[in-house]
């Protein structure tokens, strides 16, 4: 089966000499929910810009559903929907007109365009706003509008560049549900996000890009298996001394009623509970200090992955 996305030795050097991409190679299978993660300036948006035809590559190859983005740009673009990071629609146009116009650019006749637009605007809770100028929408609605616009020609591959940035938690979760359902129906989704919890929840495969190079590209499971330690935070009902310690576990006491305990891979946290119980320390609640993927991400981009 042809790859949904294939990138080979992709290089981009901007006019000012900055090398944003240093020959990255990447493949995303059809039907995948794929995350492309990296710190600001790592090369994520440049990669997505080249794939969507907004940025010209310096060297290398890129294809969407087997169609080269330069030589077969027409077919490649028809296979792709793009939700950019920044709002890029006419602020004075009506919501429905924006979606219908985009469908027209992909060759959909007005009646098909209106049908698709109605379906998507309803699915994304924007149908009531269809006659409003887009500038009147809230930030979350604008993000959903861009998703509707990107999907109006039924693309096989959808690129989402930080789709939930600035969106409240409730709305973010409803957008996740929408994306999962879309992926379940067969759309390949490529996601960039700063919310690593989002990538951990949604994606099956993950690539981490840093300084224009892919530092990791593997399944989420394999990536998380690389974590050698995890830190748990215990909120306590009683106080402990500053020098409180647990045998076999590094402990940090940020406050008298709180413990941070680092657990190595293979160690059982039951031992922590047993020890705390024996010493009369009551645990009110427990959580991981940071998202697992976040911990790994920080290690990888720092270059000190253990």
């Amino acid at each position: 089966m042809v790859a949904a996305l294939a990138v080979e030795d992709l290089t981009k050097v901007y006019g000012n000499g900055f090398q944003a991409l240093k020959g990255i190679t990447l493949e995303v299978e059809q039907g995948d929910f794929f995350a492309l993660l990296g710190p600001n300036g790592a090369g994520k948006s440049t990669t997505l810009g080249i794939l969507s035809g907004l940025i010209q590559k310096t060297a290398g190859r890129a294809s969407i559903m087997g169609h080269d983005v330069n030589r077969e740009a027409f077919a490649a673009k028809r296979s792709l929907g793009v939700v950019p990071q920044e709002f890029n629609f006419n602020q004075f146009e009506k919501v429905e007109d924006i979606v219908v116009t985009q469908a027209g650019y992909f060759g959909l006749r007005p009646h098909e365009a209106r049908e698709n637009a109605e379906h998507l605007l309803k699915a994304l809770d924007l149908w009531d706003k269809r006659d409003q100028q887009s500038r009147m929408l809230s930030g979350g609605m604008k993000r959903r509008l861009m998703i509707a616009r990107a999907l109006v020609h039924n693309p096989e591959v959808l690129i989402l560049d930080e789709p939930t940035a600035g969106v409240d938690i409730e709305l973010r979760r409803s957008m996740w549900e929408f994306m999962v359902e879309l992926n379940r129906k067969g759309t390949t989704i490529i996601l960039t996000t700063h919310y690593l919890e989002e990538a951990e929840q949604l994606c099956r495969n993950i690539a981490i890009i840093n300084k224009g190079e892919i530092v990791q590209c593997t399944s989420k499971r394999e990536l998380l298996a690389q974590l050698t330690t995890e830190t748990f935070v215990f909120d306590l009902n009683n106080s402990v001394a500053d020098d409180f310690s647990l045998e076999g576990f590094p402990v940090h006491v940020p406050a008298a009623d709180c413990l941070e305990v680092t657990v190595e891979k293979g160690q059982s946290i039951n031992r922590i509970f047993e020890e705390l119980s024996t010493r009369g320390v009551q645990v009110r609640s427990m959580r991981t200090k940071s998202n697992r993927l976040e911990e790994l991400f920080v290690n990888l981009v720092r270059g000190d992955n253990k």
Binding site: A73, V82, N88, T101, G104, Y105, G107
Partner: protein, 258 residues
């Protein structure tokens, strides 16, 4: 879906969007030229014109009407494309077309058609207004229509090139203010170049707008200071030249693609 069908639908989409835009803001696009031209008709035609008498063998009001119609067409065709395309660049909504399978030629022809539509719409409004002040003759309707369309196409392309290079809103006002308006006023809208000394007649012949105004005036009144065939040849030559240059800019992604 065939690529040709996609391009045809995309072209219709761009034109519909462009017409919807200038109709939505008709107070900024259609009304001002109607008011300005009415003032020209009253002040230059009625008040001053009645003291001038005849120009080029016809009543002064009848003489300036073709020039004023042509002036409205070219400034509005230019302004429509430059402001619309730059606004799309500024708001980055131009990316909607760039991520879609729309050929650069479709984009150019779509925007130019939008510019021509506004130019012609304003031209019709000004023509209807002029009927209140004078009886408009029709010497050669074919010449009238052809020169209006070709001039609107040429200036729409000019507006497009302006928008491609513009980086701020001031940049799309510079060419109309410092180039098009002076050339229009010096292009024989209000006078026949035969009134000028020979040297200034020769200088005037370097002004492309002179050819458009005079050709249109020929279509209306049957009088002209210049060769009609030469005027049409020049119009077609510059449309092909600037149209080709615009396509080259679009293919390179100048001002749009990094």
């Amino acid at each position: 879906m065939s690529p040709m069908r996609v391009q045809w639908v995309a072209f219709q989409t761009i034109v519909t969007k462009e017409i919807r835009r200038f109709m939505r803001i008709w107070q900024q696009t259609l009304l001002p030229p109607a008011i300005t031209m009415s003032l020209y008709f009253i002040i230059f035609g009625n008040l001053i014109g009645s003291r001038i008498g005849e120009m080029g063998g016809v009543d002064y009001m009848a003489y300036i009407v073709p020039g004023l119609i042509m002036m409205s067409v070219i400034t509005n065709a230019y302004g429509n494309v430059s402001s619309s395309f730059f606004s799309n660049k500024f708001q980055r909504s131009v990316e909607e077309m760039m991520v879609a399978p729309v050929h650069p030629a479709t984009i150019l022809i779509g925007y130019v058609t939008g510019g021509v539509a506004r130019g012609v719409a304003v031209g019709v409004i000004v023509t209807l207004l002029s009927l209140y002040f004078t009886d408009l003759q029709v010497h050669n309707v074919g010449v009238m229509v052809a020169v209006i369309l070709l001039s609107a196409i040429l200036f729409s392309i000019g507006g497009f090139i302006n928008a491609v290079f513009a980086t701020k809103f001031d940049d799309i006002a510079i060419i109309p203010t410092f180039v098009i308006t002076p050339l229009t006023y010096l292009g024989g809208v209000f006078y026949s170049i035969s009134l000028l000394p020979e040297f200034w007649q020769d200088v005037s012949k370097l002004n492309p707008i002179l050819y458009m105004v005079n050709t249109f005036r020929y279509g209306v009144l049957g009088v002209s200071d210049i060769s009609i065939v030469f005027a049409f040849s020049m119009l077609i030559f510059f449309i092909l030249l600037l149209g080709g240059y615009s396509l080259w800019l679009l293919n390179r992604g100048t001002g749009m693609r990094q």
